[in-house]
Amino acid sequence: MISSDTQIEDNLSQQNGLAIINSKAPFSSDYGKDALDVALIFGSFEQKVSLFFQGDGVYQLIADQDATLVSIKDYLKTFSAFEFYDIEDIYVCQQSLVNRQLDEAFHINDVQVLASVEFGKALNSHQHVLRF
C-alpha cells in the first residue's frame, strides 16, 4: 500500500532529479563515456542531474591525464562543458581519493570533496540513481 505521505516525499525529492555514480576508471571501458552521455542528455533536456565519483571512478576527475597517449579519444575534456549544461553538483568521495593516494587536484572546477557520510547524504537527496 502506498501512503500519501510517501507520495508527497517523492514529489519533493524529485526536485533533486537523477544522481549518476561513476565507479569505473576512465581508460579501460566505456562506462565513463556512457555515464557522461547520460549526464549531458539530462542536462540538455534541462533535467537536474548530479555526478558522484566513487572508487576507481575518482580517476575520471584527476588532473593531468592524457588519453591520447593510449590512442583513446579524450572524453574527459568534455567534463568542462558541465557548466554549460547546468550540471553543477559534482561530488567526489574523499575516502576513495585517500585510498588511492590522490591529491584533490581535478581537471574541472567546483568539485566537492565529501567524507563518506556526507557523500551518502548527498546521494540520498536524489530521486533516482544510476551507477556506471
Binding site: 502506498i2 517523492d10 537523477l18 566505456d30 562506462y31 556512457d34 552521455d37 547520460v38 542528455i41 539530462f42 533536456f45 533535467q47 533516482h128 540513481v129 544510476l130 551507477r131 556506471f132
Partner: protein
C-alpha cells in the same frame, strides 16, 4: 499510480538478464505500471535479431518479446549503444532488429526517468 522504469545494461547472453526479466515480470504480474525498459550499454544487444543462443539455454530475448506482447511493455534500445555493437539501425525496414524493440535515443531515458516513480537498473 506507481510507475516503474527499468534500465538493462547486461547483455542477453549473461545469466544476469534472467534476474532483470524475473523482476520486471513479477512487477507486471503485481499490476505495477512498468512504463518502459531501456536497454543501454551491452543491454542493447538484446535487440540483435541474429543472436543465436543454444536451444537448451535460457532464451532471454524470447522472454522479453513475450512480455512486450503480453503487457504491451515498451522495450527501447539505445541507438548509439546498438550501432557500436554491430546492430545497423539506419534502414527503415530493418531485418537486423528484433521487432519487439524500439530504436530510441537517450532522450527516451530522460522521459522514462522523469515520468517514473522508481527507476531500477539491472
Amino acid at each position: 499510480m506507481k510507475t516503474l522504469a527499468v534500465v538493462v545494461t547486461t547483455p542477453p547472453y549473461s545469466p544476469l538478464t534472467v534476474t532483470a526479466l524475473s523482476y520486471v515480470e513479477t512487477a507486471l504480474v503485481a499490476g505495477i505500471n512498468v512504463i518502459g525498459v531501456f536497454f543501454y550499454q551491452d543491454g542493447a544487444m538484446h535487440a540483435n535479431e541474429n543472436i543465436s543462443i543454444a536451444s537448451d539455454e535460457y532464451q532471454a530475448i524470447a522472454h522479453w518479446q513475450r512480455l512486450q506482447q503480453q503487457y504491451q511493455l515498451p522495450l527501447h534500445i539505445c541507438i548509439t549503444a546498438a550501432e557500436k555493437r554491430g546492430i545497423a539501425c539506419d534502414s527503415i525496414d530493418n531485418e537486423q532488429i528484433n521487432q519487439a524493440f524500439t530504436v530510441s535515443g537517450l532522450g527516451e531515458l530522460v522521459e522514462l526517468t522523469t515520468k517514473a516513480t522508481r527507476l531500477v537498473q539491472f
